[in-house]
Symmetry: D2
Subunit: 345 residues, 4 copies
């Protein structure tokens, strides 16, 4: 059994870790910290966990995190890097669901997150936790920077095209749409039901933190310089993310060959589903599961390929992917505890 | 392994059976019938099942249902009773998710469902599939009438009060609210997103089919004559059911004693959660799971007890309960394949 | 033109007043106060008002409220009673959308609202602003306590029955459901989209502030002692309120006579629509309008009458009703500026 | 008073015409046809209109449409062109909310709509009813092809850029999102609440009817050949449309100059609101109103301009625009009856 600590278990990525780990056959939930909720049984805050999770929140200073095998940080940016050195020194692996270990370019990190990076030495060994593109490195990692939700869809959608070198890498467009849970469990007026229901809007169009992360990773697999226009939108739904990706083809290629490119790229991937050419994946087809589904289109007469990508932003887009990384790091079957069938309708 | 047939797998209770049975360790999905969709892979209609359910729909005449161990009917009323005799003769157990085997009072059945009952002999041996109130009979049943969604909440909410004989049984009120999936997967204008979203209404206030079923069952456990005013409402949510039950106390009883009454009644039940007195259960705390949660209130100074009951109408209110019955009928642990943690948020 | 001041224009009842008054032919918006947003153009906070409302928020100390003809308080409880004396002294009429002037029973006010009442002299002359039951008093009022949203539906639904003396007044039950905007525009986690969407729950079941207000008013029209069990619920919709009212009949009366009772009671009311007996009103049929609709049911064989009442909680349930009162107080046609056709779908 | 006929009043564009015209001071609703609902009072189908619209549906053969001044067709494609000749001959003006008179290119019409065009002579004189780009022609038109909802946003968003000749016209991208009411009031499973709520998807990505219409119109104002990649998506909201438009700049231009370009283009337009540069318009800021709002962005370091456009798809995207055309055709102030303040929240 893997002894597991969770720092910051009161937000949505935290409770989603709990949902997944509560039925993970190798997971032993050992400590869940919350500064504010010290002593409160987790199931009092989240009645959905009544009878399934018996732990109480524990203030960080009392939690014996160094006795865990792995600690997940489901915290705001900046927390993981403050605590990682001590944990690593004690032999504990670290998986950060925030951004502290995602960007190797420290200047970019500091520009977009507005805080200095306090452990750049550890950052250097940190591994970007996207198994489909980075599995080998994850196996031996001590520190994982778990990908952002949007970046997961953009990378898995663009990667086969960039690897094949058949698109204009400098002019990628990603028009992305996220359910409201992506904003976290924070008391902000903009995310009230009465503000975000029955409406739709873009946000962060002039610049968003997930752009540098995505570009840094995509650059690793593209021979050409990557340029990305990323536009996030807020959808009045709880979970779900839909990315509509546009790439201009620079080579002659048939639709069949495009489809094969993606099917080959992901044929052994348990959590990537390449749907038939011309499909329209719905976010709900992934609800509550770790699946990411994608489908290709080429509108008639055009030289642009459109990739439609869907996932549950809290699972493959966050906590599920983190557990997938944990499985890999501990030598388990990668799908252990992650085979939830999507909840539909 | 239990060989399983599903008649009418294209509706919501059908696809929910598939979701549950796809990860049930003792279930072997053997046949799924649909008159219209013969030959269509199930996962094409329901992409959420891609990679998880490999069966195709099969027209009823070709499906080898008599080779199954159990057949679920996720069909409109009237179908199960037409096919049950042949299946039972072949030694196959039958679980009907519709109403054919719920009401022992044939006259009531025919009045409310508008069709004659074609196999009243089999009806006599049919068992009402509410495990918490009827477990022993389910163990040896060959035919199960799976309870309606509303009746499940009303019975489990009123039962301890009626058994104890401490309420005015003749004047029970159940003000119930259901998510839209309860209306099924039928192309009707009233259930379009644009018609039922961002709105709320009652329906069937002057009379609803679930009243006679509930009264018939509650009468078994009440010494006094049961009278029930049942008012269903439609909530703009997909899944979830919330019943607000009112019963006037006829005896002096403390709130603590009331609470104990319920806790004792359900202390060994894996799927009934008696929350602390005064709680307000939310439907989402059961989403995708077989849990039913309830909580008691007694507004200050009143002699009325209010029972709040929530469940997922497609799980404990339908397909999950049917699988719970199957587990009992086949001697399995009752929770087998049913321990989904609710999906929250 | 009526010069109008609004104190606390940043919440939902405030912006709804603005929406209504922006097209009211006799209204001259003169001052809108907000302590926090001094100087901010109203239309920057609410882009829906761009080009329609040119005012900026103004801090309370700078606003020349005493130069207005009427001041609306769209504020938390306690604000209106602090400022009313000065305004009244200056000849300004006051309409409070909060609770300061609703309850004549000061002890009840202080019990339920947890603050002392600071101007009980003014309270004595305050008029409860429910035009359908209190029109004459409103005409000459200087101070209006605008009814709560739930109480409006409960009073208009129960009043004809109580006036006729044909129901058991001591055992009324009101099972009420409200859209989330009723909770106001406050940054609270419980009203986030991800918390309140796709779910349903009751709240305040053990006791809610709207009970004493409703009982106090209903008692005026009932010869018998009024007892009310009121259970509020939260519906995942923005606007709309649905009350399901239960009253036991104590007299023989036909359904036709019941229907006539209501039709007669409201035959001259422009904002109360008595629908045909047995109808199921939907909240959306009132969206954005000042209409309240109701319909009667008597489930077969029962002696209980069920009244279904719907309204838009922000209009007839709050700001629209306040403007209706203003029209009456200033001798205008009662429907002036209030004839919005409901937005459907 | 203008005598008005509506053919096909049972769908969403029909009932929205009724909502708008019910308070239009110059409109006299004269006839509403429905083959199926002959004799049914409109307000029985749409209780939101109780007390506001007294007409009953009338079968097409009985309706005296030739006595009207103008007839709106809120019907499926193909109906208007069948009836227009007789109406025009009788001196009645025709406004078609469907596609019969939108496309001058008959071959394109027949390709995309799958029916032959039966009155190409009338088509030649038909005017495309987008007032902001085509006002003069509308003034004297006898037949209006009212624009599609998506095309309205795409044209008003791209037009200033194309007129100025500063973008790569051949590679425009429009990533558009619509509320579900855009699909109409048809009993189709895909638009059930349980299917389209809490989910998001694209549709028609490989080709959609609104592309040729938009290209044909944009070509009139672009010196360069127009090429458009249009991707529609379905948002779980009732009303509202959000288009995210991408155009690559081919000339040096400052953000200030871009903003001025749009402000100048629309400075006299009552229904187009150019928001400050960098704004994120929300669809709800237009709910129930005829306003279209847009805002410009240029993500840092890029040569791509992003135009965000929102409208209510049933108002400016359909019925409101049709009434705007009617006002122009009959010499009324263009805003008559169209000054609804958006309903927010």
């Amino acid at each position: 059994m893997i002894k597991i600590g969770i720092v910051g278990g009161t937000g949505y990525t935290g409770v989603e870790l709990l949902r997944i780990l509560a039925t993970h056959p190798q997971a032993q939930l050992t400590a869940i910290t919350s500064r504010k909720e010290d002593g409160l049984p987790v199931a009092e805050m989240y009645p959905s966990l009544r009878g399934r999770v018996d732990l109480a929140f524990c203030s960080p200073d009392k939690a014996k995190l160094t006795e865990c095998d792995v600690v997940f940080f489901a915290t705001p940016h900046g927390v993981a890097m403050a605590q990682a050195p001590e944990l690593l020194a004690a032999g504990v692996k670290v998986i950060d669901l925030a951004a502290d270990f995602r960007l190797q370019d420290v200047a970019q990190f500091e520009k977009w997150y507005g805080i200095p990076h306090s452990c750049t030495e550890i950052l250097k060994e940190a591994v970007y936790g996207l198994p489909e593109l980075n599995r080998e490195a994850i196996k031996s990692a001590r520190v994982i920077g778990n990908p952002g939700c949007y970046p997961t869809t953009m990378q898995l959608g663009f990667a086969p095209l960039l690897k094949a070198g058949i698109v204009d890498a400098a002019n990628l467009i990603a028009d992305c749409k996220s359910g409201v849970s992506g904003a976290g469990r924070k008391a902000e007026i903009g995310f009230l039901f009465s503000e975000s229901s029955d409406s739709f809007k873009a946000y962060g169009v002039s610049g968003h933190r997930h752009t540098p992360e995505t570009v840094e990773q995509l650059q690793h697999i593209s021979a050409d310089k990557v340029g990305l226009m990323f536009t996030p939108h807020l959808v009045p739904m709880i979970r779900g993310m839909h990315s509509t990706l546009y790439a201009r083809l620079t080579a002659e290629i048939s639709n069949e060959a495009l489809q094969s490119l993606f099917e080959d790229a992901y044929k052994d991937e348990p959590f990537v589903d390449v749907m038939p050419f011309g499909s329209h994946p719905e976010t709900r087809s992934t609800r509550g599961s770790n699946m990411l589904r994608l489908a290709l289109h080429r509108p008639a007469g055009s030289n642009t390929v459109v990739v439609l990508v869907v996932q549950d932003n809290l699972v493959k887009g966050s906590s599920g992917q983190a557990v997938q990384c944990m499985n890999i790091m501990f030598g388990l079957d990668e799908t252990t505890g992650l085979m939830h069938v999507p909840v539909m309708p």
